[in-house]
């Protein structure tokens, strides 16, 4: 694998456009647009203050740059470099800013989550949404971009509002049976909304698009509950990772648990293959792909280290986090399904893996650590045999 030269960036703001043609990076108060294939600078924009957040619009024609301290959002156009747009939130402050799926509206969350302001770039109109909830994942857009689900909290009760992204019309508004809603996520087919409670209570609720409660799932009581939730791309499975270091998978027909995976400290399963990186750091490829074998684990960038297969049983070095602290670093924090819903990669515990993502073809997985990058390629020929 080859690497390009180093480019400067600040605040880890570096994104490829949705159509894959451009690369945008932020350096302090400048926005640099490069071509992905040649890495030549195509455009250079200057904002009024240090950029804290940058996002591409879905049609790859516009970019928004948010400066939270100043409460400003500036939007730039790729086609017309002269075009400019500046949104000033005024004294109310700005905490987060994002595009709507159609790429023509900007949603700004004000300080203290007082309200969400919806700015329309087509009509210069403004709408307000009151009482949004400040939680792990309070808003989610459905994959087709038609609907937006928003978590709200009024009078110590949680509500979910479903808006039609077309004209921001409130479609449904219903109360949820959660104590303290922590997040919500649409299923990829846009028909089911998964809502989960904070870690003090293990509760996952499934609502249909029209607001009916389809099912409730609770694995256990009292101990710390749900840490992460993800849908499979086919909408057939919902994987729930919890603080008890287990992943539970629900099926979409009965919404009952069909599988449960453990993350034991000692791997003894005859079907599991453990790859261990040697020479540099004795960190283990820290995901238990316990559904199918990895038949080839290859392609390293670091020529100084190599992977070898460890004989079972393998003891994974586990650092026990301090359980007295809030939000302890135990439990399954990251889940990722492959695109064909065949494999599930999970990260348990305090391993230094920042993100897991699957390639679109579903046969390779990339792990990002603080200092390292690991690419796992799975040979699927044997499956056919």
């Amino acid at each position: 694998m080859n690497f390009s030269e180093l480019f400067k960036q600040s605040n880890q703001l570096c994104k490829v456009s949705p159509d894959g043609k451009y690369l945008a990076t932020c350096v302090q108060y400048r926005l640099v647009i490069r071509d992905v294939s040649t890495l030549q600078i195509l455009q250079l924009y200057t904002c009024l203050d240090q950029i804290t957040h940058m996002e591409w619009a879905s049609d790859s024609l516009f970019i928004l740059c948010a400066m939270y301290k100043r409460g400003l959002v500036q939007v730039w156009s790729l086609e017309q470099p002269d075009w400019h747009c500046k949104i000033d939130e005024g004294s109310i402050g700005l905490v987060s800013s994002r595009w709507s799926p159609d790429g023509r509206h900007i949603l700004n969350t004000t300080e203290f989550h007082l309200r969400i302001t919806v700015w329309s770039l087509c009509t210069k109109a403004v709408s307000y949404i009151k009482y949004p909830k400040a939680c792990q994942k309070g808003t989610d857009f459905s994959r087709d971009g038609c609907y937006m689900a928003l978590a709200e909290r009024r009078d110590c009760k949680d509500y979910v509002s479903v808006f039609v992204c077309d004209d921001w019309h409130l479609l449904r508004h219903f109360e949820t049976e959660t104590q303290d809603l922590a997040g919500l996520e649409w299923s990829p087919n846009g028909c089911v909304l998964a809502v989960w409670d904070s870690c003090l209570e293990y509760k996952v609720l499934l609502y249909s698009l029209d607001g009916r409660l389809l099912s409730t799932y609770s694995a256990y009581e009292w101990s710390l509950g749900v840490k992460s939730v993800t849908w499979s791309p086919s909408s057939q499975f919902l994987a729930i990772g919890s603080y008890d270091e287990k992943v539970r998978i629900l099926n979409h027909i009965t919404w009952k648990k069909i599988a449960q995976f453990d993350h034991p400290a000692t791997i003894n399963n005859a079907k599991a293959v453990v790859y261990k990186e040697v020479e540099r750091r004795t960190a283990v490829g820290s995901d238990d792909l316990s559904l199918h074998n990895i038949t080839i684990g290859t392609t390293l960038f670091n020529t100084q280290s190599k992977y070898e297969i460890c004989p079972l049983p393998v003891q994974i070095p586990v650092v026990k986090p301090d359980p007295d602290r809030a939000n302890p670093k135990i439990g399954v924090s990251t889940l990722a399904f492959s695109s064909d819903s065949r494999y599930l990669a999970t990260k348990n515990g305090g391993f230094q893996v920042q993100s897991l993502s699957w390639h679109g073809s579903g046969d390779s997985l990339i792990l990002l650590g603080k200092e390292q990058l690991c690419l796992c390629f799975m040979d699927t020929d044997q499956e056919d045999k």
Partner: protein, 555 residues
């Protein structure tokens, strides 16, 4: 008592009926009764006087007298003998007779007294015996009671032990649970406190901000500043917000939901039909498997046929009703019939298993009579097959040969053959050449290696000698013999006067050695003597004086 009476009379030789009457009369346990009985016996004797008087009659007086005197003598009363008053007379001496009678009476009285005493004692003894027996039995009862009590107590103790154990285990589990709950509480408490702190901080920030805003006079209005409005992403014009629009939104939402449900239902139906097909297939196959075994299983023929007909019926039924997929009845029927068939199949397989095991047993005992025949048949079949195959191969070979031969006439055929073999011969020759060359190369290399090894050995030895001499020099250096040392260093061996860098020299020589070795491994046809010579020459040069005279000066 009675026994005593009975014992005495039996000893005498009197008439048995008289004795028995006496004994009968005098058999009574108590003393008073005895006295009474004595008196009664006396009375009775009066009444049965006629019996006792039968002892002495008018006729046998002298015999009686003699007899009585004998008896008295035997009893120890020989002092007074009963004599007849006149020999042969019917009279009796009164004085000795009365004396004898008096003595007898005394004896009798004494006996009575002793008897009384004995009776008293006996009574006493019997009483004590009774008492002892009673106490014995009482004690035995007590002992039994106490044993039972003891076992009872043992039992209760055991039960209590068990209870203790169970309670202890309960306690342990409770303790574990308590610990777990405590840890949960602790984590929840920390979570709550963390959240509370966060909220407090936020509230504080809010307050600050609020106070700031109240103080601040100018209020920055929120505004948007766009160069020009953009068109909608989908290119259409936006619509007014009317109820029709809202209704259409609702419609769209329901449409999407419905389509999703329909798709899901379609998928499920497909799966369902697939599964049903598989089940039908399985059922048919099961029926098929079960049906040919009808003649072999005797007892089950009737049931099988019935079941088969049932199965056929059901198969017919379900195939008809398969169209009506939502009919629960049909579904149940299908599953029930499948279950039934499966059960039959299982029982059949079990029967077969049993049969097989039986047959195996028979085989072991029967010396393989029956299976051998089958075995023979199989062998025959296989032999025939082998024969056929061989013939086939043979014909193929012939045909091939013919093919090869008949295409050309003899000359060309011979030539061609030669050609083919020529090519092969050429190839073979080449390969041989290569092989020879390689062999030669290997030989050379081997030679080189051995030479190098020998050289290495020699050099090592030389080096060691040098080392020794150097050390010697060193040692001598320490002593006040420097002049002599400078003279002695003219030796060829002791050129290791280089004090500062002996190691580097060593490494350089080693490197040179290595180099020489590497040169040697290249398989050149030239002999490697020339390559080795420089290295040794160099070595000797270093050892010798001439090139290193400067080092000499150092010493």
């Amino acid at each position: 008592m009675g026994e005593w009476w009975t014992a005495v009379p039996t000893e005498t030789s009197m008439g048995s009926y008289e004795i028995s009457s006496i004994s009968h009369v005098t058999m009574s346990p108590s003393r008073q009764n005895n006295l009474m009985s004595m008196y009664s016996s006396a009375g009775l004797s009066k009444s049965s006087y006629s019996v006792i008087s039968a002892f002495c009659t008018e006729d046998n007086i002298p015999q009686c007298i003699s007899y009585i005197s004998q008896e008295l003598a035997s009893l120890g009363l020989s002092s007074t003998c009963i004599k007849a008053s006149s020999p042969g007379g019917a009279g009796l001496d009164t004085v000795p007779a009365l004396n004898a009678m008096y003595e007898l009476l005394q004896i009798h009285r004494r006996n009575m007294c002793t008897l009384e005493e004995l009776e008293k004692e006996q009574l006493k003894k019997s009483n004590t015996l009774e008492q002892m027996q009673m106490s014995n039995s009482r004690l035995k009862d007590q002992l039994e009671l106490s044993i039972r009590e003891k076992s009872g107590l043992h039992e209760t103790e055991r039960q209590l032990h068990l209870k203790i154990k169970t309670l202890q285990s309960c306690l342990k589990t409770e303790k574990d649970e308590v610990q777990k709950l405590q840890s949960i509480i602790a984590s929840r408490a920390s979570q709550y406190s963390h959240d509370a702190k966060r909220k407090e901080r936020e509230a504080a920030k809010l307050k600050e901000r609020l106070s700031q805003l109240l103080v601040e006079r100018r209020d920055k209005k929120l505004a948007i500043d766009v160069l020009n409005s953009l068109g909608r992403s989908d290119g259409k014009r936006s619509h007014w917000k009317t109820t029709k629009v809202t209704a259409s939104h609702e419609d769209e939402m329901y449409k999407s939901l419905l389509s999703d449900y329909e798709e899901r239902q379609r998928a499920l139906m497909l799966e369902n039909t697939e599964l049903k097909k598989v089940l039908q297939q399985m059922k048919k196959e099961m029926i098929h498997i079960l049906s040919p075994c009808q003649p072999s299983t005797r007892g089950a023929t009737a049931e099988d046929s019935q079941a088969d007909s049932d199965g056929e019926e059901k198969a017919g039924d379900s195939s008809r009703e398969m169209l009506d997929q939502s009919c629960e009845h049909a579904r149940e029927q299908l599953t029930n019939s499948i279950r039934q068939q499966w059960r039959k199949l299982r029982s059949h397989v079990e029967k077969l298993d049993n049969q097989a095991s039986q047959v195996q047993n028979e085989m072991e005992s029967n010396n393989e009579v029956i299976p051998k025949e089958i075995h023979e048949d199989e062998m025959e079949k296989m032999r025939c097959e082998v024969q056929q195959c061989k013939e086939f191969i043979h014909t193929q070979q012939l045909l091939l040969q013919q093919q090869l031969n008949t295409s050309f006439d003899d000359e060309t055929a011979a030539l061609l053959n030669d050609c083919y073999t020529l090519e092969e011969k050429e190839r073979l020759k080449e390969e041989w050449k290569l092989f020879e060359e390689q062999k030669r190369n290997f030989e050379r290399e081997r030679k080189n290696f051995t030479e190098a090894a020998i050289r290495l050995g020699r050099e090592k030895k030389a080096f060691e000698e040098d080392c020794a001499s150097w050390l010697k020099n060193q040692f001598l250096n320490m002593t006040p013999f420097t002049d002599r040392r400078s003279c002695s260093s003219s030796d060829g061996q002791s050129a290791l006067s280089i004090r500062s860098e002996p190691e580097m020299r060593m490494s350089s020589t080693k490197a040179q050695l290595a180099k020489s070795l590497t040169y040697a491994t290249v398989s050149t046809p030239k002999p490697t003597q020339s390559a080795s010579v420089p290295s040794t020459a160099e070595l000797y040069r270093t050892l010798r004086l001439m090139p290193d005279s400067r080092y000499y000066l150092v010493t």
